[in-house]
């Protein structure tokens, strides 16, 4: 109860702002570390304008509400940060807070604190407990569901590898007299470590849902001039009443705009100027399109219904063939002159002029990324960040081992970090069976009097 907690308090998704709430004795000081506003001098229950920074990088323009205890929901010092809506910037702000040593709030923890600090009436306690119970159950389920099966399997495999090496080290410690048992050496640890590192990176890569939540889907809209790329984009925006923002710090080089669909961010990449010029292929050429495609999770290839397939169209079809792709055949209000040489998957017909087919396109996107399956309430989101956070922590432990190796630390100390990685990964997939290690030890090694 002494630590400071944070969570995203608004439902994530389409909306102009989202709020991150921070509560605890270090709330003001820690948030103060990451903003240009001098919060320490601000009066309680006031709002200030400024920005959140990560070292020197500006992350988001925000409004910060400062509320000193006890007149707050939790009765503790509380900060509320109003960020721009959308998952990417909000998540980024939250992750910077976590780097400050703030812990992500457990489900229902603000309410719990409010209760424990005597803020909520005791007669409501039963209801509070129900709430905590149901929320944490849900959170548990969601957090596990959020990981795709492949990721879970990868984590399992890595944990198995880890438990094998850990139990080998343990058996070396507990049964030093067994000369037939393989001794884990520094070289072996080094070798394993590079594999562990690779696996952790892969897990992050492959945790596709988490990635979608974390950074959104990179979308490339391609097509030769005058096929209606900008109209499609504009209609998508209109249909979803979504905002296209240019959020500083998240754009890097390639993301031009952000569109939010079902609470998931679509990052439009390298569509520079398409709303004005319509001339993407001319401008960037097929070679450059290939580059764009490499960065894209989803390709919208626009074809003109009214014209015959050109060489350029064919080239674009070819280079985007192995990507997740939707072929949008636009201008269905005009006469059909287009003849596709083969049967392609995921074709959507649209007429931006008649405003037809846009909904079909949106549904297609949702279908391809199973968006309806991703719950965008705060918990699925939070637990995903928490999971990623744990994997990041595991990577930190890898670094600690590397340092330890340099300092010639003995194997049983390096093992402390190996165990830490193993435990963190167990938490990510909801497996923490304490006897697992001993079971494995006695299964794999023949020891005893």
């Amino acid at each position: 109860m002494d630590d400071t907690i944070a969570a995203i308090s608004t439902t994530l998704g389409v909306g102009a702002i989202s709020i991150i709430r921070v509560s605890g004795k270090d709330a003001i000081e820690k948030v103060n570390n990451i903003t240009n506003i001098n919060l320490l001098t601000k009066k309680t229950h006031t709002i200030s304008y400024g920005y959140i920074k990560d070292k020197d990088e500006i992350i988001d323009e925000v409004l910060i509400t400062i509320m000193k205890g006890p007149k707050t929901f939790t009765t503790e010092d509380t900060i509320e940060i109003n960020c721009h809506g959308g998952i990417a910037p909000t998540e980024k702000v939250l992750s910077i807070l976590l780097k400050q040593g703030i812990r992500i709030a457990e489900p229902g923890e603000f309410t719990k604190r409010a209760f424990l600090n005597g803020r909520i009436d005791l007669t409501k306690s039963e209801a509070v407990m129900d709430l905590i119970n149901s929320k944490s159950d849900k959170a548990r389920k969601i957090s596990i569901n959020n990981l795709r099966g492949t990721t879970t399997n990868k984590i399992r495999t890595l944990r198995e590898k880890l438990v094998n090496i850990i139990s080998n080290i343990e058996v070396n410690i507990d049964y030093p007299e067994y000369q037939d048992i393989e001794k884990v050496t520094i070289d072996k640890i080094k070798k394993e470590l590079s594999e562990i590192k690779r696996s952790l990176d892969e897990i992050i890569e492959n945790s596709k849902t988490s990635k979608i939540i974390k950074s959104g889907i990179n979308v490339a809209i391609i097509g030769r001039p005058n096929v209606g790329k900008s109209s499609i984009l504009n209609k998508l925006i209109e249909e979803e009443k979504a905002i296209v923002t240019n959020v500083p710090g998240t754009t890097r080089d390639i993301i031009e705009g952000t569109l939010i669909l079902e609470g998931i961010t679509l990052n439009l990449i390298d569509t520079a100027g398409i709303r004005e010029t319509e001339d993407i292929v001319e401008k960037i050429g097929v070679e450059k399109s290939k580059n764009v495609l490499n960065k894209a999770d989803l390709v919208l290839l626009i074809l003109n219904n009214n014209e015959k397939l050109t060489k350029e169209d064919e080239e674009l079809l070819k280079i985007s063939n192995n990507k997740t792709r939707i072929i949008v055949i636009n201008k269905t209000d005009l006469k059909k002159n287009l003849n596709l040489s083969q049967n392609f998957e995921n074709i959507v017909y649209t007429s931006t002029k008649k405003e037809e087919g846009i909904e079909n396109l949106l549904n297609k996107i949702k279908e391809l990324f199973s968006l309806e399956k991703i719950e965008t309430n705060d918990f699925s989101y939070v637990s995903s960040i928490e999971q990623l956070n744990k994997i990041e922590q595991a990577k930190e432990s890898v670094k600690d081992i590397e340092t330890g190796l340099k300092e010639n630390l003995p194997i049983d100390m390096l093992e402390i970090d190996l165990k830490n990685i193993w435990n963190l990964l167990g938490e990510v997939i909801g497996e923490s069976y304490t006897e697992e290690l001993l079971d494995n030890l006695f299964k794999n090694f023949c020891v005893g009097k």
């Binding site: 209760f115 410690i173 507990d174 007299e177 300092e407 030890l441 005893g448």
Partner: protein
């Protein structure tokens, strides 16, 4: 005749319990089935090893006897894991089992307030769920508290092949009534099993076919008193041999004749202590298993074959032994056997080792489901300390998991229970780096002293050591500057030169630097123990700090106490499973509750709220 405390059983748990009880001024009676069997080592003639050796040091720091008694009975001693980090260093001694018994018996006999009686306890005197004494074969004896340390003697069966005999390890009488009586009192009884290898007549072994395993040349002692009783030049040897194809063939051919594989046994045996049959069945691909030939005593002509425990019939054992290198003509003096015995479910115990259902009744050792002399001894000590504290209205001694392996052991037992004989392993400890061989005295001497078990002399010695550690640590904060003169001294002492101003402590963190190298910069001289301690503290400070941080979190949760009287069934928001587990275990803190399997984080949140509400109302 009325006693303060009666200890039932004179094994390793019973010896410690009786001594601690009497030394704390309680009128104590030790009841044993066989006075010649006090502190007997019926299995391997060795004490210590990883984790266990640290427990022996902890017993010593608290003022127990095992370390001192071991030091008096050493045949051979080694420091294990010295190539690994200090967290896993551990002593192991081969002991002279006859000397060990003799020394312990003498200590017990010469201790004030301590009587010994040779008999069997049939029942306990219990009034209103409070124990009032024991009923032996002959009489009723009253006491304010009773400590049961019955070892394997509760309803035991000795199994050799298809023969099953109701007797103890040496063919003595076993106690049949007591276990039945405990069941009637409401204890859940479980059946456990363990085993021991054959003993061979020493001069029938051809040691030229074996590999010599000598002890360390350094003088080592378990006790912080540091009194060596042995000559390192004259240590006994152990010998290493391996099983072979022929051994395995014999075992495979006769497998169903063994008590375990023939279905003659019912108890659950430990995974970490498999019989040779188990090893061969479970690890089919292994072509050989290593065995140690260990001397049992200078006064005995017997050799213990470590790694060869078995429940085969005698005829098969003979064949098996003769297949081993050097043992072709060996004569078996005592056959291997498996032993089944009754134990109580340790989740029926409090963390003080007092039973939950009968007040002032304590249990320690194998009756609690553990295995091993060290595990037994430490429980005996803790049970006696807590019986003493209870009778005198003082605060109980409950060691946390970050304070002692003893804390890990007892917490595991009473929180998780055990399905097999429980052995301590280093991997059971979360904070291994804090629970080291070198610092057991720093961790526990204050407790032992407060309770009254540490002698004045030893306490003084401890205080001086503590002072010197502080002094040396302070000296190491001294800064040195990279002058030519300093760098010359560094060079002379094999330390790479420094470029910036730095402290001695920082220098010591370099892998190649020891305090010995830094001596020219130090004002005072320090003894070996202090130097070792400080080197560990400094060199591994990063990891030590990490574990201390984690332990701090644990401590916070341990400090949130749960009353014994909480009716978990009435806390409606607890999950059903949590309600049942909490009712059974009755954890004394939120920390302990968190370790119960089946109690989830949401249940803990509910408990915290429940506690808060209780306070507010």
């Amino acid at each position: 005749m009325k006693y303060d405390i009666i200890v039932v059983g004179g094994g390793h748990a019973g010896s410690e319990a009786a001594l601690a009880s009497a030394r704390l001024g309680n009128k104590t009676l030790l009841i044993t089935g066989n006075i010649n069997n006090i502190a007997d080592a019926p299995c391997n003639p060795s004490i210590g090893g990883p984790a266990k050796g640290i427990v022996v040091r902890e017993i010593d720091a608290l003022g127990g006897e095992m370390a001192k008694n071991t030091d008096k009975s050493i045949l051979q001693i080694k420091k294990l894991n010295t190539r690994k980090g200090p967290a896993v260093w551990a002593l192991r001694a081969q002991i002279d089992k006859i000397e060990y018994q003799k020394n312990m018996t003498e200590t017990i006999k010469s201790t004030k307030n301590l009587d010994i009686k040779e008999t069997f306890v049939k029942k306990l005197i219990v009034e209103n769920n409070v124990v009032k004494g024991v009923i032996t074969k002959e009489e009723e004896i009253k006491a304010k508290a009773v400590i049961l340390t019955t070892g394997t003697y509760l309803n035991s069966n000795i199994l050799i092949g298809s023969t099953k005999k109701k007797e103890g390890p040496h063919g003595e009488e076993t106690e049949l009534n007591l276990s039945k009586h405990l069941k009637e009192l409401g204890f859940t009884i479980q059946r456990l099993k363990t085993g021991t290898p054959p003993r061979i007549k020493k001069d029938t072994i051809d040691f030229t076919k074996t590999k010599r395993e000598p002890g360390d040349t350094d003088i080592l002692t378990f006790s912080y008193e540091n009194k060596p009783y042995y000559d390192p030049e004259k240590q006994e040897l152990c010998h290493l041999i391996y099983t072979n194809k022929k051994t395995h063939e014999i075992i495979n051919k006769n497998l169903t004749k063994s008590a375990m594989y023939g279905g003659y046994a019912e108890g659950i045996g430990p995974r970490y202590c498999p019989s040779i049959e188990d090893k061969i069945v479970r690890f089919k691909d292994k072509e050989r298993h290593q065995l140690f030939l260990e001397p049992e005593s200078k006064n005995l002509d017997t050799i213990y074959i470590q790694g060869f425990s078995s429940s085969m019939p005698k005829e098969v054992q003979k064949e098996m032994v003769k297949s081993l290198p050097g043992l072709e003509n060996a004569e078996i003096l005592k056959y291997a056997y498996a032993i089944e015995y009754d134990a109580i479910d340790p989740t029926q115990l409090k963390r003080t080792l007092e039973t939950k259902i009968i007040e002032n009744l304590f249990t320690a050792g194998q009756i609690n489901g553990t295995s091993g002399y060290e595990e037994a001894a430490c429980q005996g000590l803790i049970a006696a300390i807590n019986a003493n504290q209870k009778l005198k209205g003082k605060k109980p001694l409950i060691l946390r998991r970050d304070e002692a392996y003893i804390g890990v052991l007892i917490d595991d037992l009473v929180t998780k229970g055990t399905k097999e004989p429980y052995r301590l392993l280093t991997s059971r400890a979360e904070y291994r780096l804090l629970l080291r061989d070198d610092n057991a005295d720093l961790r526990l001497t204050e407790y032992g002293n407060e309770i009254g078990l540490v002698t004045k002399e030893n306490y003084q010695k401890f205080k001086i050591k503590l002072e010197n550690i502080k002094k040396l640590l302070k000296e190491l904060t001294k800064e040195i500057t990279p002058t030519k003169e300093i760098n010359n001294i560094l060079k002379e002492n094999n330390i790479n030169k420094i470029i910036d101003k730095t402290t001695l402590e920082n220098l010591l963190k370099r892998p190649e630097v020891t305090i010995e190298n830094l001596k020219p910069f130090l004002k005072n001289n320090y003894d070996k123990e202090v130097i070792e301690e400080v080197e560990i503290i400094v060199k591994y400070s990063g990891y030590i700090k990490k574990q201390e941080e984690e332990a701090k979190k644990l401590k916070e949760y341990e400090n949130i106490k749960l009353s014994e009287n909480i009716d978990y069934q009435k806390i409606s928001n607890l999950a059903l499973e949590a309600r049942e587990k909490l009712t059974k275990i009755k954890p004394t803190s939120i920390g302990q509750a968190m370790r119960i399997s089946g109690v989830n984080p949401s249940d803990i949140a509910v408990l915290m709220i429940y506690l808060k509400r209780g306070k507010n109302e």
